[in-house]
Symmetry: C2
Subunit: 254 residues, 2 copies
Amino acid sequence: MVTVVILGAGNIAQHFYTVFQNTESIQVVQVYNRSEKALQYFNAVHTTTNLKDIVEAAVYIIAVADDAIASISNKIPFTDRFVVHTSGSASMHVLHKKNRRGVFYPLQTFTKGTQVDFATIPLCLEAADKTDFKLLHSMAAAIGSTSYRISSEQRRALHVSAVFVNNFSNHLYRIAHEICEANNVPFKILNPLIQETANKLNTLTPYMAQTGPAKRGDEKTINDHIAKLEKDIHKEIYTLLTQSIGKTYGREEL
Amino acid sequence: MVTVVILGAGNIAQHFYTVFQNTESIQVVQVYNRSEKALQYFNAVHTTTNLKDIVEAAVYIIAVADDAIASISNKIPFTDRFVVHTSGSASMHVLHKKNRRGVFYPLQTFTKGTQVDFATIPLCLEAADKTDFKLLHSMAAAIGSTSYRISSEQRRALHVSAVFVNNFSNHLYRIAHEICEANNVPFKILNPLIQETANKLNTLTPYMAQTGPAKRGDEKTINDHIAKLEKDIHKEIYTLLTQSIGKTYGREEL
């Protein structure tokens, strides 16, 4: 049985709490949070708002905003235990060195209140100590996740990549939504195309999957599209991404 | 029984041919193409390379490159029949007016050699004549597609939107692939995130689904990310999309 204390009460803390509660080999023994209110969610375990009351456990999971990780790991009153954070962008070394350090980063976008299937979520693991790494690996396996040994530097690269494929792709969906609304077209017509664009990566690299006027160098369609766009920033985004696709396929200028 | 002649032998022509062959109420009676070679695919029906040999049918589907539609519809030797094209960006009026005109546009990305499920593909229909429109509607229903009445102007908006959600999203996947390769991280780790980003649109609008440093206005992470990117054009894309997300959530400048 791996005993766990979770520090933090937000989205990630809740998702880990829920999946650990459903895992026989992992036991959440306590949840800490600065404020009482957010602790209501964790009604099946002992909770505290006082760092001095934290109990002993095999691993302490700090699941708080990036800029609060260093401070909370510093304030922890104990030493020589195993403390991890769950951040994609923070280095393992933002954790205070008085404890053994590690990272347990789920590479997925979480929606509050929506159950997630950890079997589909890759976990990026890092630990300074070999035995600690094995513990994280066994925890990932216990909740059904595929895990990868990822250094802080690699994790930073993954986190930037995640911004491109998640945050930025979603923003492109938003722009399409705006264009549809401005032209009285239901956005849902695009949904199958959006799903298929993502699905293609199960069989093709993005390089192979690329299609469209920018790849073909079809200047007439490109100019028609830019003329059709109403917002300047949409024109700018269209132009820049078209230029970048052109470069990818060997055209310096369109 | 709806009789169909397909003009063109490319990707879209092949997909329509295959699904019509499997549909009881639609019969492909002939496929025309300028060159003989590409006609090999259509081995179960009569084929021709001569426009003068085209037989009678209820609907003629021109499935060729956008810039060839006007020319082929002009060269067709008959008049007063029903002729449609399958393009997302070309107006219905690029078809020569000597025939009755329409559009039968499948809004999806097609991969050569990959079977497609038309039940998941929205068809955008347009026809000048009411009876012709009904015919297209019944054909869409026969192959299991959901269809929408979409004007040429609306279709143009959808086509620009499709470039954003398909071509440009795929290019963002490509950029992430490049970043992963440069940092010795397997790109496949990002695949579940990519799928989930698309899946979220089944329950949330893109406006509601947005997360990340650009939305939060988290300047430290944004600057770290831009510093981490090696290619100037990736920095430019990161900066512009971050700025656009900022505007969407009410921040003029970051």
